[in-house]
Every structure is written in C-alpha cells, then in structure tokens.
C-alpha cells in the first residue's frame, strides 16, 4: 500500500467520487487553481493544492470557481444540494464562517427538519483550520466547536491521510450537511492509503494507541503531539491510551467512556479555544458518565482564550504541544485525593 499525504488523500477522494457520481460538483474560491498565475488554469489547485487536476478531468461545469463571496458559495451549494446535486463547497478558511453562517446554521442544517424529511441536503463543506503557519488571528482559528454546536450539521476533523480519504468519501455519500475540517499542518503528513475507495463511518473513534494509565482524547493535529508525548511518558512508565474521535458530531462518547472506565484518568487535547469548546463538552459528558471511575480531575490542554497571535514566538506558545500534554498527563497521574 502506498504512503500518501493527506492532501493527496483528499484530492483522490474528490476525484474518485466525481468519477463515481456525476452529481458531485466542487465549488469555491480558486478551486480550479489559476488565480495569481499567468492566466493558465489549474496551475496550482486551490490555495493549498488540494483540488489540483479536477478542472482538467471534470471541466468547469463541475469545478466551479466563484467570486470572493462565501455567502453566495454556501447559499448556492445548499440550494444545489436540496435540489439534486451533491456539492462539495470550499470555505477556504473556517475563519470566514461569519459571513456565511446563516446558509449553514439556519438553512442547510434545518432543511430536512423544516420540510418534514422530504428534502435531503447532501452538502459537504471543506474548510481549513489550524494555527502554526503565521497566518494571524483571522486565518488560523479552529472553529469546529461552532459547527459542532449546531444540530443538523455533522463535523469531521481528520488527523491523518487514511482517515481523511475514508471520511471525505463517507461525507460525500452522506445525505446530510457535513463540515469537513482540514488542518493546514496535517496536509503534508503521510500514512498508508489504499488506492481503492473506502468509507469510515461517522461516530466511530479511532484508538490510536492502547494504554492502561491514562486516556488522552485528541483532535486533528493534536493527535500527533499526543503520540509524541506518549512516547516520552512511556519511558517514565506512564502508559497512555490515545483516542482520536475523528468526528465531533456525532461524537463516539462510548469509546471514550469505556477507555476512562479502565484508566480512570482523562486528558483532552484540543487546539481550539477553551470556552464552550469540544474539550469542555467531552469533559462534561465523561464527568456525567464516568464520575465513579475517575481517579483524578479531567484535564484539558487547549489554546488560551485569546485570538491566535501573529508573533511566531507567541503563536508557538499558543498551540498546545507535546511538552504541555506530557505535563498535564503527569499531573493527572500524580493526583492524589
């Protein structure tokens, strides 16, 4: 099996689904990838090269470049989904959510419910999340907690190439709106990815590593930092189990709870801000379900409640890293009632 980057895996999933189903179209800013070049189209394949090659194979009736207007992209895509297409719309940075949230929050997410189940909305919104590229406060957030808070939206936060391909194919074949959050610094990470199409069901966490002493739940890029921390902690005799929920809505709380029932300790790692976030949500669920199993307070490792700094020094401090995760785990294990 071949090693592929997450970028390749996402590109492959898009191309395979477009080949399989003529109703699948891609729409967004610069998805045909020509802007900023000498006029040749598909020169780059979107700002980060994810949609490269699609225009050449499927043409501009299925790879639709739009003006810079997120509200129109999401509105058009939601309407197209409700009337028979299966659009994959691109919200280049999740930070732009503010200008198109009505189309998602109050339209796409509500169609099935408002129309008595007579309308399906097979819409996928691909969007970039994450700090770490020096893109400052307006292009670096991880806002999946906002999507997760909306009933009617499914939310995917893949951490690796294998999961990204299988989850994106599942998203495209799903009949409900799905927000697919791609971390900028996960694009270049490689894993073994089958050439064939495959689907990973939503709401099933991946157990990244088995362990007995403490459960670490980590999302997206944080899975890799948690694995680094677990390697260090293993040498200190602390055996970490790492769980990657893969989707925050639906959330596989069962797998997390079953793990915490064994380990009695939970550390949640989330690059998003701490207030009203996914880490707090998981902490609440596990606090309710596993109170008697817990040997220590649930600990969250998140970004601070601030905008993402532009200063590289501060940005580095902002993002949870392996050192902070390891320290949180040590404190959790050392906790004595």
């Amino acid at each position: 099996m071949a090693l592929k980057t997450t970028r390749q895996a996402i590109n492959e999933a898009l191309a395979m689904e477009m080949r399989r189903d003529k109703r699948v179209v891609v729409i967004g800013e610069d998805v045909s990838g020509g802007a900023g070049t000498d006029g040749s189209r598909d020169a780059y394949g979107g700002v980060l090269g994810v949609t490269r090659g699609l225009l050449g194979e499927f043409g501009d009736s299925r790879v639709i470049d739009t003006p810079i207007t997120e509200s129109a992209i999401m509105g058009a895509a939601a309407g197209a989904a409700a009337t028979g297409l299966r659009p994959v719309a691109e919200l280049m940075f999740c930070d732009f959510l503010g200008v198109c949230f009505d189309q998602l929050l109050n339209q796409a997410a509500k169609f099935r419910y408002m129309f008595g189940g007579k309308v399906k909305t097979p819409l996928v919104v691909r969007t970039m999340i994450g700090a770490g590229r020096g893109a400052a406060a307006q292009h670096s957030q991880s806002l999946y907690q906002m999507f997760t808070a909306v009933p009617g939206l499914k939310v995917v936060v893949p951490s690796n190439a294998y999961d990204a391909k299988g989850l994106l194919i599942e998203a495209i074949r799903d009949d409900d709106p799905v927000i697919f959050c791609e971390h900028k610094l996960v694009y270049d990470l490689k894993s073994e990815v089958p050439d064939e199409a495959y689907r990973i069901p939503f709401g099933e966490a991946n157990i990244v590593r088995d362990g007995e002493d403490v459960t670490i739940v980590a999302l997206s890029r944080m899975v890799h930092f948690s694995a680094e921390a677990a390697d260090v902690l293993a040498k200190e005799g602390i055996d970490c189990e790492i769980i990657d929920p893969r989707t925050t809505s639906p959330l596989d709380a069962d797998t997390i709870a079953e793990s915490v029932e064994r380990t009695g300790r939970l550390v949640i790692v989330d690059e998003s801000t701490p207030r009203c976030g996914v880490a707090g949500d998981i902490a609440a669920i596990i606090g309710e379900r596993c109170f008697r199993d817990l040997k220590a307070p649930i600990r969250r490792v998140t970004a601070p409640h601030t905008p993402v700094p532009f200063s590289p020094v501060l940005e580095k401090l902002y993002i949870p890293d392996a050192l902070r995760i390891a320290e949180a785990v040590r404190q959790t294990v050392a906790y004595a009632r």
């Binding site: 064939e196 069901p201 099933e204 157990i207």
Partner: protein, 369 residues
C-alpha cells in the same frame, strides 16, 4: 566459543509487525531446550502467539524480561552449550542484528493479472514442488504469517489473496467453487507452476480441493485446514456477523469466534478487518461468496466424495475447539486421509498452533507422493 551460541530474536510475524512484547517465558535460564520447543509468548498489536526455539541446547540467558516491548530482530535470549561465553556474545549482538536486517528475506509481494482478475501474491523461498497457501473467507494472505516464512526455508511457497479479498481486485468474476478455483489455477499458470502442494484453510480448503478435483495432475497433495465442503453444518452466525459487522466492537466479537482463546486477537487485527471491510465492493463480494457457498445457513458445496476419489495424499487438520465448522466433519475423510485434530485450537490452527501445523505440513509433503 560464541560461534556455538544461537540468538533468539524478536520474530517478524506478518508484513507490518515492527515490535513485540514479551508476555512471559515458558522456559527458565538453564533449561535444556530442543529446536521446536515453545520458548516464550509474544504479544503484538495484532496477535499473541508462541515463539519456538530454532536450535537445541541450554537456554543460557534470558535478555528480554517479561513485559518488555522490543523491535523485530532484537535479542531476546541466548541458546548454546553450557561452557560457551555468553556475555561477549550479547555484547557483540547488535552488529549481527543489523546485518540480518539487511538481508531480510520476507515474502515478496506483487500483483499479477490472472483469469481477468488483479491478484496479489506473496512469494518466498525457492526450489522443490511449490506449496500454495489459500486463505479463508474474509481473510488474506497475511493469515499465513506464521507458516509461509517457515515452510519457505526449504521450498518455494506462494500465498495469494482470493478475489474480493486482501489487495486483490474486489470485482468477482464468479463466487462459486468453479470460479474461485479457476482463479487459483490461472494464478499458478501465470507463475509457471504446473504441480504444487495445495494448502487451504476453511473456504480456501474448499477451493484447494476444487482445484485438485477439477485439474487432475496439478495438486501433488492436499492439506485441508478446517475446510468447507465436508459437511452441511457451519456457524452461520459467524458468516452473517462478519458480513454485517461495521464497528470495531462488532468485528472484535465475531473474530473471537475464530479462536479457542479470545485473548489471542489483538486490536490491530480487528482494525485490519475493519479497513478491509470498508473498501468499496468488499461487502458485495463477500455476500456473493457467502451466497454461493453457505446459502440458507448451511454449506451447499459438497466435496467429500470427490476428495476421497482423488488418488493423491490428503491430510486434514482441525482444531478440536472449532466454533465455525465442527471438527467432527474431519471424520468423514478418516481412512481416506491423514486426520489430525489439534487439542488447543479453534478454527485457525495454523495461527493458534502454528508450530504444530508447520510440522504436520512439512512431514506430510515430505512423504513419497
């Protein structure tokens, strides 16, 4: 005289194993051991199994203590004569490990076109009449991880992924015994094999038998491990459960039916089955095979009579605790075949008691045909 000392190293079971954990030693320092004796239990993320001594002598030193996780090739223990100098041997070991790694001769994987299908084969060893390994329903060539490397020390051994399985194409030309045995015959033709010892497990046993029956002269011998085709009864709960299972827990539950001791199944074996089942067209392929072989909750392909009339050596190996196909079906061939029922195995004796199964195969194909 460290030349007389033999290193016991972390084995590589299967293509993806990188490290293993020492569960416990079954021999103590100072014990006399014979080649083939069970030395220690090793747990990988995929499976727990026993590693056997490859040399006879005294177990001079146990280097890897219980609970230690070590990479493939790492030194676990030293076997040799009582007077040999162990410390220098251990001190000089790392160099040897690096050299061995360089000339690692694991099975070579490739994909070939056979009978209009894309088929993945794994080849190891050379010479002699080749052995061909055919896996069971829902499995792949990796299920021979304990057998292919051992058998390949003396001859060419070919394992293949059946259509719809492993890394082979998932579109079936047909799902019945004629179609699937036809693919195996096409693979052998493509590989230039005109005569082979066929070894098949479960569904693969039925396919191996079908090859022997439909193509006289191709099979030099037949080793059937818990095969289909010898009776009507089969645990349809396993077949249906395997077809239906979508989630990790469901897969783990059905897989435990395969083995006598559920502790043997590791999480990554469950994960591998999930990854396989998620691929497009796999569900359809498996359902078609199940319909062709196990319709209405029983086996529908009867091969026993034809096997009896083959006129080639046939042996049957079965686990006494088989919960998929009852071991009693082995009795239908008693008198016509060598029958071995292994007391410590369920449905996958080639994994659960691999050393014993390897010896049975070696001994059997070594007999004059």
């Amino acid at each position: 005289m460290s030349a007389d000392l033999v290193a016991v190293t972390m084995p590589r079971w299967g293509l993806t194993m990188t490290e293993g954990k020492v569960v416990g030693w079954l021999k103590a320092e100072g014990d006399a051991v014979e080649a083939g004796d069970e030395l220690l239990e090793i747990e990988t993320s995929k499976i727990t199994s026993v590693s056997e001594a490859t040399a006879s002598g005294v177990l001079r030193r146990i280097v890897a203590k219980d609970g230690m996780t070590l990479p493939v090739g790492a030194l676990l223990a030293v076997i040799g004569p009582a007077e040999a100098e162990v410390d220098a041997f251990i001190g000089g070991f790392e160099v040897i490990a690096a050299e061995e790694e360089a000339e690692d001769t694991g099975p070579v994987l490739r994909e070939i076109e056979a009978g209009g299908q894309r088929i993945r084969v794994a080849e190891a060893g050379e010479g002699g009449v080749p052995v061909v390994l055919i896996h069971g329903f829902g499995a792949d060539l990796g299920s021979w991880m304990f057998n292919q490397p051992v058998l390949a020390q003396k001859r060419r051994v070919i394992a293949l992924d059946l259509p719809g399985h492993g890394a082979s194409g998932k579109e079936l030309g047909g799902a019945d015994d004629a179609a699937l045995s036809g693919v195996v015959v096409a693979v052998l033709a493509e590989l230039g094999v005109s005569r082979a010892h066929l070894v098949g497990h479960s569904l693969g046993g039925g396919i191996a038998a079908a090859v022997a029956i439909r193509h006289p002269g191709l099979a030099a011998s037949l080793t059937l491990i818990a095969p289909v085709g010898l009776g009507a009864e089969i645990n349809v709960g396993f077949i249906d459960g395997f077809l239906r299972a979508q989630r990790r827990k469901e897969v783990a539950e059905v897989l435990t039916l395969l083995v006598r001791d559920p502790e043997l199944i590791g999480r990554s074996m469950v994960e591998d089955v999930l990854r396989f089942k998620r691929l497009d067209n796999v569900g359809e392929a498996l359902a078609a095979i199940a319909a062709a072989w196990f319709a209405d909750g029983r086996q529908t392909v009867a091969l026993g009579e034809a096997i009896s009339g083959l006129g080639i050596p046939v042996q049957v190996i079965w686990g006494a605790h088989d919960r998929i196909i009852p071991a009693a079906q082995a009795e239908t061939l008693r008198g016509q075949a060598t029958v071995n029922v292994l007391g410590l195995s369920g449905h996958v004796p080639h994994m659960e008691q691999s050393g014993e199964v390897n010896r049975l195969i070696e001994r059997f194909i070594g007999l004059p045909g």
